[in-house]
Every structure is written in C-alpha cells, then in structure tokens.
C-alpha cells in the first residue's frame, strides 16, 4: 500500500488492478483457479458448508412432514425467523444487482473485479430467500399453487392480487430471473475463455455454456448492448424488490408495520446489508485465492463508503420512525416503538442499533476503512445487525399489538436455528462451488479496466 501511495500514477487514476498485469497474466490468474485443485481452505470451508446445507434439508423435511409447529411461531407472532430470514437474504442479494447494474450505468469502473462474485452472491441469496416463503406455509406443495398466477379452473378463481405476498412473488421471481440473466450474459465471454483453455469434456461443457462465443467485434457489439439493456432493466429492480418486500409490512394495520417510510428504508437497508456481505465474502476470497492485486483495498474502501452512507440512511430511518410514532399521537403506534426499545425484546433492538448505526460510523476513519480486519469485523456486525432489524420489525411488532390479552413472546426452536444455519450452508456451498468452477472475477471486464489504465498511464495512444 505504501508503494501505491508513492506511485505518481495513483494520484491521477487510482489503480484498480495492482502489480504488473498483462491480459495474459490476468486470464491466467483467474482461470487457473477453476482449473486446478482448490487450496486447502476451500476444502475446510466445504467441510463446514456441506453439513450445514444437509441440516437445511433435514430441517425442511421435518417441517414438511410435521408442521410449522416445529418452529417457534405462534399466535400472535405468526412470522418469526422464517420471514426474518427471507427479508434478510433478499437484502443480501441487493448489492449484487446494485454493483452490476447501477454502478455499471454510472460507469463506476471499480465494480469490475467484484461484480461477478456479487452477482453470484445475489443469485444464491435469492435462492436461499426463496426457500422461506415457500416453506413457511409448512405445505410447500400448496404454496407452489399460489406462486403461479393461474386461475383455479372450475371456479375461475384467481389469486388475490391485492395481497402484498402476491406482489412479492412477482417481485422476487422477476428479480431472480433478471439477475440470473444478467449474470449469465456477463459470464459468456469468460466461459469462452475457459473453453479455449480446456480440453475434453471440460471443453465441451464450457463450449455449450459459452453459446458459441467467438469474440468477434460484432459479437462484442451485441454483447455490450445486451449488457446495457439488462443493466437498465435491473436498475429499477434494485429499488422495486425491497420496496415490495417492505409492503408486506407497510400495507398492514399493525403498529410498527404500518409505516410509509418502509420502501426507501428497506432499500437502503438492503444495500447496506448487501455490501456488508460482499465485503465479508470478498475479503475471504481474496485471501484464499491471493487476489489482492485484483480486489484491491480501493474496492473495499469504496464499499465501506457505500456502507457508511446507507448505514446513515438506515439510522435516520430508525429515528424517523420514533419521531413519527410520537408525532402521530397514536397510543398504539407510540407504544409499539417504546416497546421495541424497552420491552422484552430490548436486547434485539439495541443489538440492531449498535451494529447498524454505531459500528458503521467507524468508517469515517480512513484507517478503519482500509484495514481489512476492521472492515471484516464491522461487516459481520452489520450482517448481524441487519438480521436483527428484520427480527425487530417482525417479531416485536407482532408480539404486542392492540389487545394486551393476546400478547405473547417468540422463542426460536432448534429447527428455526437449524433452518437458518442450513440456508447459510446452502449459500456457502453454492458460493464455494461458484469459486471452484466459474471465473469469480469478470476476466473480460477487468481487462477493460487494465486497458484503460494503460491508456491513461502511457498518456494515450
């Protein structure tokens, strides 16, 4: 880092790729990860991830055969960890699309070395998220029937399109589809690179996946346009998905849920948590695969700045909720928020505040922003804090609503914990497989950045 500061080029254009990299060395560095035996750490991680993913299937099988009662959900807390986890995972997924689509449109070149992994993360997070609405009914074969907007034939009965849960189905499935397409389109040139380096079956598989990519100028032209269009389609989705997820709560009548601030608040929170997760994963990936020269401190610092900004939006939203509760002069609304902070779930609330509002403030300091251990710890804190945010919104609002007679308390069971840990295992397994078999960094895009650097460094052609 010290040599970076001394490098006069850094003043003009911050280096996004460090070290003496050429196109060939870049291709080699990234491709070789997928071509050779993974490092020991990969196996260690897999040894954790696969049993956890197995636990997910055990828990879900138990749930489906027995009933939702194996979780801690009750009356009045009809949603507990299930929907908390759903919203949390969906939130995690947000950074991927934001990085790939919005930052692309804003020509933020620094996104190139992290966008691939972030997009993959999005997909896997959405997959994990999708498990919850499907399984929280306890009878997923029934839930599947309402997932599809298909009329109930003999009576021609449709789903209830007034229900935010129905909107969720569309929002999340659209998001998953577009994200997958976006990710895949971005992968095509890199898959072709891998194909060209491979032999035998591997070559055939990558040949199939790369859809006949030749790298001709004409293909590049189409590719760039397609990528731009998908970025354009994805951009509103970043805002819409979590807005709609927030409607699950905002359209209800329950104090603590019935809030107009939710859409922007949820979107900010989603980006906040998504970036925290990207940092968590990238820090690990660059350490395991020695990608320090590609995922630089610059990338990580930029993400810390995004976290700081969104973290403050989230903190502001927390304050606004309290202010509005007081300003509304509505007894139930006021109590809902006082109860959050000082009721039986005070610990959850203050965990959330500490993690989400206090800890990101440390990113004001450049030293912390550029310290890998510090940002890793803070990112973990934010992941925890954002989980608690969803838990606080869902459980503390439900556990004490209007009539004191019906008040209750939610405690998770081992199946709740197992299901959550299980989705983490699934996520990790998918991510590790992605690291193992696909180029984790967009080779073609990083080459573009490399090229720009050469241009600027050498004072133009």
């Amino acid at each position: 880092m010290a040599d970076l500061a001394l490098d006069p080029r850094a003043e003009l254009n911050p280096t996004l790729v460090q070290g003496d990299q050429s196109y060939a060395s870049l291709t080699d560095t990234i491709s070789v990860i997928t071509e050779s035996k993974p490092p020991k750490q990969w196996y260690y991680a897999m040894a954790v991830a696969i049993p956890l993913a197995g636990l997910l299937f055990v828990c879900l099988a138990y749930l489906v055969t027995t009933g939702i009662g194996v979780w801690g959900n009750n009356s009045p807390v009809g949603w507990g960890w299930d929907i908390t986890n759903f919203v949390w995972w969906i939130g995690i997924g947000h950074a991927g699309t934001l990085i790939s689509a919005i930052l692309f449109l804003f020509r933020q070149k620094w996104r190139t070395s992290i966008n691939r992994a972030a997009e993959a993360m999005t997909l896997f997070a959405v997959a994990c998220a999708g498990i919850y609405p499907l399984f929280h009914t306890g009878r997923p074969w029934r839930a599947a029937y309402w997932l599809f907007p298909m009329p109930n034939e003999p009576l021609a009965l449709w789903q209830n399109f007034r229900s935010p849960l129905m909107w969720d189905v569309f929002a999340v499935s659209t998001y998953a589809t577009v994200s997958a397409l976006f990710w895949y389109v971005g992968l095509v040139p890199d898959l072709a690179t891998l194909r060209d380096r491979a032999r035998g079956l591997r070559q055939r598989i990558f040949g199939l996946l790369s859809l006949g990519w030749r790298g001709s100028a004409r293909q590049w032209k189409h590719y760039e346009l397609a990528y731009l269009i998908l970025a354009g389609i994805s951009t509103p989705l970043v805002l819409s998905v979590h807005s709609i997820v927030s409607f699950d709560f905002a359209t209800s009548v329950i104090p603590g849920w019935h809030t107009t601030i939710f859409p922007p608040y949820f979107v900010a929170g989603a980006i906040f948590s998504g970036f925290a997760m990207v940092i968590t994963l990238m820090v690990l990936a660059r350490w395991v695969y020695n990608l320090q020269h590609l995922i630089t401190i610059k990338h990580l610092e930029n993400m810390c700045k995004v976290i700081l900004a969104t973290g403050m939006i989230v903190g502001f939203a927390y304050a606004t909720e309290f202010f509005i509760a007081w300003y509304s002069a509505n007894q139930y609304e006021k109590f809902a928020f006082i109860n959050r902070a000082f009721g039986p779930y005070w610990w959850a609330y203050w965990t959330m505040i500490t993690c989400n509002v206090v800890s990101p403030q440390l990113f004001w300091f450049k030293k912390i922003r550029t310290s890998i251990p510090a940002m890793f710890i803070i990112a973990i804190f934010i992941n925890i804090g954002m989980w608690f945010e969803r838990f606080v919104i869902i459980a503390t609002s439900l556990h004490r609503d209007f009539l004191p007679s019906s008040w209750g308390y939610f405690s998770p069971t081992w199946v709740d914990i197992g299901t959550f840990a299980g989705t983490m295992g699934l996520f990790l397994t998918l991510f590790l497989l992605f690291l193992r078999f696909l180029p984790a960094i967009a080779i073609s895009e990083v080459k573009g950045v490399l090229h720009n650097q050469f241009v600027s460094n050498k004072g133009g052609h």
Partner: protein
C-alpha cells in the same frame, strides 16, 4: 328448534311392528300417537277408504317405524347400518334429557347426527336451564366418547361379563347370604332420582340393616345442614336473584361453581341488564378469600380469609341488630368495619329485596346465620324461598367416616360403590383404598378405570347419561326423564341397573324401572304423559311446594354465635372445585383441561393461589412449589399470585393429580385431595413452606391489565362506568375514545338484506367459559396440550379476556369475550394471497379452508389476534371413538390451515335452507343462534340480523353503551360491545 321422534309407544319390538302393521295400528296407543303426530286426518285416514291417504299413512308409519328400530323405546339402540326411511341424513335430531351436578338436574337438549350425540344445548323449557348450560355440561359430550372409559366388566382385573356378574350378584345379594343386610354398604353419589329412590326402598325392604351412603367431594351439604340448624329441618334455599336489588355473597361463588345450575346466572344477569341510562341495576357485594367469578362481578369486594367469613357474618348480624345482640360501634378506619356498616345499611334499606348467601365451603353455622339474616331482612319467602331438598340431606362427611370405620372394624362384608371415585375423593386420612380391601366383596361401578376401580374386585363400567335411562329432579323438584340416544359404547350400565341387581329385581332394565315407576303414578294417562315428559324434557307439576320456615332468632343466635369466633391468625387453606375438573371427574376431558381457568387463565394445572403479600412472606413466586401440611396431611402445589386474593389464605383446586386416569388427565396438576382430611375438608389452618423447587405454569393470557407496560397508559379496550356516571353522562361510552372522522378511499359495499352482527354485553358476562367449550364442541376445535399452549398455540375461537383494573393487591376484574368480530373492511382479507378468506354478502368474514395455504399473514394483520393456525395436525391419530364427537356440519381442519370464528355459519346456512324449504323468505330474529349465544347463561351474547331494526341485536346496538373495539382502524367490526357498568355504594367509594 327441537325435534323429538317418539314412535313406538308400546314395548313390542320393532320386528313385531313390521310383521303386523294393521294389528298394531289398531291399538289405542297408536291411535293416540297418530292423533298427536298427524292431527289433521291421520286417524280418519285409517277409517276412510281413501287409498291415497292409506298409502300416505303407511309410508309415514313405515318410515317412522323404521326409526323405532334405532331408538330406545324397544331398548334396542342399533346402528343405522341398514338405512332408515324417514330419517334424513345430515339432518340432526334433538333429544331432551338431563344431567346432574351434585344430584340436582339440569335439562338438556342433545343434538344427534345419524344416531350419535354431537352437541349439547340447554333445554329452554327446563327450569334449571332455560336454554343455557355450564361449561361442564357442554363437556359431557367428550366424556361420552372418551376412549379411556372403563370398557367391559372385569373381575380383579381379568375380563369378565355382565352375565357372570349377574350370576354372582344373584347369590351374593340373596337373603341367604346377606341376611338382614347388616354387612352390606352401598356408597353412591348424591342422587335426586325418584326411580333410584324406589330401588333404594326395595333394597331397604329386603335388607333393612343395609346402609346407603351418599358422598360427593364437591357437595352442598353445609347449606342444607345450616337450614336444619336454623329451622329444625333441612331445606334447600332458592335464591331469587332476579328479585333482589342488593346481594351479599359470603365466600359464595354463586355465579360460578358454588351453585348447582346456571339458574343463578340467568337470574342475576336479568337484574344487571340495562336498556338506557335511566335503568337501575342491582348491587353485589362479595366477601371472599379466592377471587371468584362472583367477586369479579361484584361492585364491592372484600378480600377476607374464608375462615373469617363467619366472624364477618356475625358482625353483619350484629350491625343489623339481629338476635338482640348489641350493636357494635364500627371503627370507621377499618376496611372491614366500613364494609360491614355500609352493607348492613344497604341491606336494611332493601328489606325483602335483598339476599345474603354463603358458599358451600362455609360451616353450617354460617348458613344458619345467613338464613337468620335473610329472615330478619324479610327476604324469606320473597327473595329466598325454601323447599324440601331433592337429595337426602345428610352430613355425608360423617357418613363416610362411619362407613370407613365400619369397614375397618370388619362389619362390612359387601361394599358396592355406585359411581364416583371415592378412593380419590374421600378425605385422605380415611385411607379408603385400604379400608375397602377389608370388605369380603367389593363391587365398583365407575365411568373410567380410576383409583377406585383399581381397588375393587368387581369392576363394572358405568354407562354415560347419554347411554342410559334414568330420571332426576331439578333443584326446585321438577323431574326429568334421562333418555339415552346411543347404545352404551363400552357395555356400561347405569347405577340404577346395578342397584336393581343388588335389590334382586326381576327386571333390571333402567328403561323399564323408570317407566313403570312413573306409569304407576300416572295411571291411565301413562303413555301420553310418558311421551310428553320425554318430549318436554321434564314432567309437569313435579315442582316442590315452597315451605315457609321460621327460626327463633334469639335461641339460634345464642347457639351458633360461639362457633363464629374469628379464626386464629396464620395461613389457612380452602378447597375449591376445579373450573376444569370439578371434583376430578372431568380430569380426562381435554376440552375442560384446556379451558383456561376463568380467573387465573391457567390451563392444565391447579396452582395454589395466594396473595402477593403471602407469596412474599413465603419467598414464593409464580411456579414455586409449596409444601402444604394440615392436620397431619401433606401436599405439594405450585404457587401462583392471584391479585385480589386474601392474605394468609391459600386456595387449592380439587380434581387434579389423578394417578389412575386416562391418557389426558393422568398426572396433570397436583393432587390436593391428599391434603383434604375429614377434619379439614373445606377450610383449615395449615403450615406452608417453600420447597425451593419450581414448576412450569401455563396461562393463555400473559398480560393481565389494560395498562401498557413501560408507559403505564390505559388502553380503551374494555370501557367501564359507574351507574352514576352513566346516568349523568349517557354518552360516556361514545366519548371514551376520540376517533377522528375516517375517510374511505374506495366505494363501500352496500350491505343489503340479511346482515349478521353480534353485540356482547360486558355488563352481563361472567367469564364462565361456557361459550368457549360450546364453541369447541360446535366447531370441532382441537385441543393442543399444555406445552403447545405455553408456545401460544391454543385453538379456541372465542377467548375470555380477563383484565385487572385498579390496585394490584385489590383489583377489580373485567371480562371480555373475544372472537372474530367480522370486520366489514377486514384487514385479513386484503392480505391473503390466495383469497382463502373473503367476505360473504351477508357480512361474514368466511374462511375457505381448502384454499388456505397457511401464510399466516391474515393472523398477523388481525388487530384482535383472533385467528388460529393449525401448527400441527391436531386431529392426527385420534382414537375411533373420538372421531364421533365431530360435528358433521363443520370441516375438520388439516395442519397448515388458518381458522377462526365465523358466527357459526353452518347454523346460519342450515336455517336458511330450512326457511327456503318452507317458503319463508326471511329468517325470524332468533331463528339462528350461534353456539356461544345459545349456551350463555348470562345472555351476554346476542346475535342476529342487524338490518332488521326489530332484532334484539339491532336493539342492543342502538344503546348508547354500544362501542366497537379499535374503531379508529376503520375496519368496521360487526361485533360490538356494550360497556360495563358497576353500581358502587357511594359510601364505600371514597376514603
């Protein structure tokens, strides 16, 4: 409403009937019946030559005759396996019958579907029911189908049969073997059955020295013994609460478990009903140790140890200057003295229109004094009337003491136990199981394989009341015939038949005994009267005459005053029947176990209730196990702080901790009976220590006040006012909550035609749980067990919210029944993704169970949290017999399905179909009654068409007390509440 099909009036069998119709139709009985059933032209049809009419009649006869084959008159209760003409499948039949509590009868109307009883209602014409029942009576249905009932005759645990028993009994109960019967003892439950009495007489004639002992662990001996003390003869006091303006209840939960029927609630609530702000209501004072439902309804409540009630009564008598005692100057600073002074003044101002009543736990002297006070107040003959008791008035405690000592001394050769569970319920110091083994032969007839069953040689299964014939008297003497509707599921026989076997009667069939007993009295009109009695559910003109006793005040006062000294200081224990278990007989009834205690809201347990002060003194918190000892006996029970409980007093609930019981009740709660000695049967001084161990208690309500925690702000959920406030500000309830004008964004649906709504009068509701259990029976609501209730998954569609108000050591209590309020703008409906909950054009918020996928979003968005989710398949692996309890008109829900109250939509539809079939365009008010409404003894729940201005519900909603919960949400609930009123004595309000 009710429909009674009584076809074959003779005792000829169904088979004969089919063989020779013409012969049969010639009998005068049949003609009579035809006349009754087909008043227009029925009999003419036989004589006329019209082929058409003859065929019509034949068809009717065949159809209805077929019914006879499945019904009792021929004493063959057969399954409908062959199909019966005339019976419309899916159409219920109703049978009038009777159930007893402590011997006193309540008339019932039992709904049966395809030959199996599915729902119990009160008999509207029966004087002790007037259409209502208690929660226990509702739960009798589940007892019928209890898979753990005693099944088949056993001898020392080995399989036997009724034939073997009868053969043995013939020898055992022969004159040769028993002689004059000095070695024969029969221990039975209190009974008012005239037929059983006739068999008893027969036994007495045959074995003059045999003794028949009656015992119930929850009994009403003391009131009767008190009247014996006062008037020289045991009498039954009938309190006319509908005529009293001032009532003082001394440790008497007359609105709850301390009465033998629901009649007091009916009468009391009549005096509590107001139509407008100028109405008057009665005033209720209660002095009691435990917080009872009566205490909750009281306008003033004095918390006082049960053992101090006598002294309080004496102070009151003194204050009223009864018996010539000197008026003691009251010390105005003392709460108790102020209470006594104010009550005395109020009572004196309402002579002839007041009632003083004492609870059955109180000793006979207190009851004698109460009788005296009522006499002095001129209430006797006005608000308190006396009749002869319908059960034998004995000191049953002394009787079982005698019985045990007879057993121990070897005097008893043969012991016959007819019903009950004496090994479990008799005073613990008698060690009855051991004494029982001293008799050479023991015969036990019990409903379940209970503790007594285990100790017997001959083990006989007792038939359920719905399986056997019998009769019983209501408290006022009215006789009802107990008619069965189903053949004994487990080969049981009623006590009457076993008594007949003991008596050596030739015909031991209960039907024949009962019928011949009454036919003898009726003479020529026997058949008609019998049918009439079965149809009505009671026998006209069997009411007992009132007697007008009079007590010699001075003499009596002198005699009883010494017994009414203040009790010594220290902790007392008092025993109470279980709201769920009664005396333990409902221990295996899951509906009752899961019905939350009306006051504590505890399920599946019987904690020792005490005040916060006493708990602090003992170092106990909720769930601390206390070791309680009294008179050499010991028991353990978990402590629970009951706000408003008297200090230095512990209230213990009977009927738990059963060791020999079915799978539901075994080991549930703690056995308090082990502490209940013959010297300390009702109230006793005790020593209590903290064992240090803890125990988990589970309630259905975790927050007990309307005050928010942290902020301490009161929530306007239950609205309350005093009579004075309401009189001066009739709009009190309208202004309790300020709701800004709510604007609708969308065009509102026009609610035309029949629109269902409900009004619940909080002023009448006692929180007795009858609606909760009735709803459970009507709507096939599952039970979930203690652990699941702890997790907040109870399934009751209607719950009784109970809130404390005021000081926590001496609070008042309000009850609020809460079920789905059928919002017009229902928040649950808009959020359901599959439209599984939608609105009907008649204003019902319907559930389509088979559309529900189980997102629980509707429950989350329900501001009243009245939706219930099937977290598991609660109906999995049900025993065959328990499947029979289901109401076939209501879907049994699978796991993953949401459910909730729907105003008994099946009843609405049934009546609509009936009206349509009869070409009636509209239903009349009262045609449809929801299950909760029908059962409610206080008539607090009124349901009907709100678009009909004449309907009762519309009238109720017009009152100024009417309000809806959470009006500001603009969800427009169809259920509204009528604000609660209290009528405090101005003299006791301040200071």
């Amino acid at each position: 409403m009710s429909q009674f099909v009584q076809i074959n009036p003779t005792t000829t069998t169904g088979k004969k009937y089919w063989r020779s119709l013409s012969q049969l139709s010639g009998t005068p009985e049949f003609k009579q019946w035809v006349e009754q059933e087909f008043p227009a032209g029925g009999v003419d049809a036989i004589s006329s030559s019209s082929r058409r009419n003859l065929l019509k009649l034949m068809a009717a006869s065949f159809g209805l005759a077929g019914l006879a084959a499945c019904r009792r008159p021929v004493e063959h209760i057969l399954p409908h396996s062959k199909g019966v003409e005339g019976l419309i499948h899916g159409k219920p039949l109703h049978y009038a019958t009777v159930a007893t509590v402590g011997g006193a009868a309540t008339g019932l109307m039992v709904e049966t579907h395809e030959g199996r009883p599915t729902k119990i209602e009160g008999n509207e014409k029966h004087p002790a029911s007037l259409g209502a029942t208690s929660a226990h009576m509702q739960a009798l249905l589940l007892n019928l189908y209890d898979p753990d009932r005693a099944k088949g005759v056993k001898r020392n645990g080995a399989r036997s049969s009724w034939d073997e028993f009868t053969a043995w009994a013939k020898d055992e109960f022969s004159a040769a073997k028993q002689g004059d019967g000095s070695g024969l003892r029969i221990l039975a439950e209190h009974s008012s059955s005239p037929s059983l009495q006739s068999v008893r007489n027969e036994i007495a004639r045959k074995f003059p020295k045999a003794q028949w002992v009656e015992f119930d662990s929850v009994n009403f001996d003391n009131p009767r013994l008190g009247t014996a003390l006062a008037f020289g003869q045991p009498l039954e006091a009938h309190y006319q609460y509908d005529k009293a303006d001032v009532v003082l209840a001394l440790d008497a939960d007359f609105l709850g478990l301390d009465s033998q029927s629901v009649l007091p609630v009916k009468q009391f609530s009549a005096k509590r009903r107001v139509s407008d702000h100028n109405s008057q209501i009665n005033r209720l004072y209660a002095a009691e140790s435990n917080y009872s439902m009566t205490g909750a309804m009281a306008d003033h409540r004095l918390r006082l140890r049960s053992s101090d009630i006598g002294a309080l009564a004496l102070a009151l008598a003194t204050e009223l200057n009864i018996g010539g005692a000197l008026k003691v100057l009251s010390n105005a600073s003392d709460d108790k003295a102020r209470f006594v002074a104010a009550v005395a003044k109020d009572l004196a101002a309402h002579k002839g229109r007041s009632i003083v009543v004492a609870g059955p736990r109180q000793p006979r002297e207190v009851h004698a004094l109460v009788a005296l006070v009522n006499q002095a107040l001129g209430n006797t003959g006005e608000t308190v009337i006396y009749t002869q008791p319908v059960v034998t008035a004995i000191d049953s405690l002394a009787a079982v003491n005698q019985l045990t000592s007879d057993l121990n001394s070897g005097q008893v050769k043969t012991l016959v136990v007819l019903g009950g569970n004496p090994v479990y319920t008799l005073p613990a110091d008698l060690n009855f199981a051991k004494s029982m083994s001293k008799a050479a032969s023991t015969v036990v007839l019990t409903a379940e394989e209970n503790e007594t069953w285990a100790a017997a040689q001959w083990q006989l299964p007792e038939a359920h009341i719905f399986e056997s014939w019998g009769d019983a008297r209501a408290l006022d003497g009215t006789v009802s015939i107990q008619q069965p509707m189903v053949a004994p599921l487990y080969y049981g026989k009623p006590a009457l038949e076993v008594a007949a076997i003991v008596a050596g009667l030739e015909n031991t069939r209960a039907h024949d005994i009962v019928k011949s007993n009454w036919s003898a009295k009726w003479g020529a009109t026997a058949e008609k009267s019998w049918k009439q009695a079965l149809y009505n559910g009671f026998i006209d003109g069997t009411k007992l005459e009132t007697v007008k006793p009079s007590a010699d005040a001075a003499r009596l006062f002198a005699a009883i005053a010494p017994a009414l000294k203040p009790a010594p200081a220290g902790i007392e224990i008092a025993f109470f029947p279980g709201h769920s278990t009664w005396d333990g007989r409902f221990a295996n009834n899951a509906w009752m176990q899961e019905a939350p205690d009306p006051m504590t809201k505890i399920v599946w347990d019987n904690p020792a209730l005490l005040s916060q002060t006493t708990a602090t003194k003992l170092g106990a918190v909720n769930g601390t196990l206390l070791t309680i000892s009294a008179a050499g006996l010991k028991a353990t029970a978990p402590a629970m702080v009951m706000p408003g409980h008297a200090d230095d007093s512990i209230s213990l609930t009977l009927g738990y901790g059963r060791s020999a019981c079915g799978r539901v009740g075994r080991g549930v709660g703690h056995r308090i009976e082990g502490l209940r000695g013959s010297a300390a049967f009702h109230i006793a001084p005790a020593t209590v220590s903290n064992s240090g161990a803890t125990y988990q208690l589970v309630t259905t309500q975790e927050h007990h006040t309307l005050e928010e925690p942290i902020t301490g702000k009161l929530r306007p959920i239950v609205l309350e006012a005093t009579m004075a406030e309401y009189h001066h500000h009739p709009d009190h309830f309208e202004h309790a909550v300020h709701v800004p004008e709510v604007v609708n964004m969308f065009e509102q649906f026009e609610w035309k035609g029949q629109q269902w709504g409900m009004a619940i009068d909080l002023n009448a509701c006692t929180g007795c749980n009858a609606c909760l259990v009735a709803c459970q029976a009507e709507n096939n609501i599952p039970v979930v067990g203690k652990d699941q209730v702890r997790r907040g998954r109870e399934m009751h569609w209607i719950r009784l919210d109970r809130y404390f108000t005021g000081k926590m050591d001496d609070p008042q209590v309000v009850n609020q029944p809460m079920a789905c309020v059928q919002c017009e703008n229902a928040p649950c409906e808009s959020v359901c993704p599959v439209a599984a909950t939608t609105h009907s054009p008649e204003g019902l918020n319907d559930m389509a169970y088979n559309r529900c996928v189980g997102t629980r979003y509707c429950a989350n968005n329900c501001p009243y949290k009245v939706r219930r989710f099937n977290f598991f398949n609660w109906n999995k692996n049900l025993p065959e017999s328990q499947k029979m309890v289901f109401n076939p008109d209501v879907t049994v829900r699978m796991r993953g399905v949401m459910e909730k109250c729907n105003y008994c939509v099946q009843r609405i539809e049934e009546k609509k179909i009936e009206a349509k079939a009869n070409n009636r365009a509209q239903l009349k008010d009262g045609d449809v009654k929801s299950a909760c409404q029908q059962v409610c003894p206080a008539e607090a729940i009124v349901f009907g068409n709100i678009n009909d201005p004449q309907s009762r519900v519309a009238q109720m909603k017009k009152q100024q007390r009417d309000y809806v919960l959470l009006e500001e949400l603009n969800i427009k609930p169809r259920t509204s509440y009528l604000g609660k009123l209290r009528n405090p004595n101005p003299e006791l309000i301040h200071g």
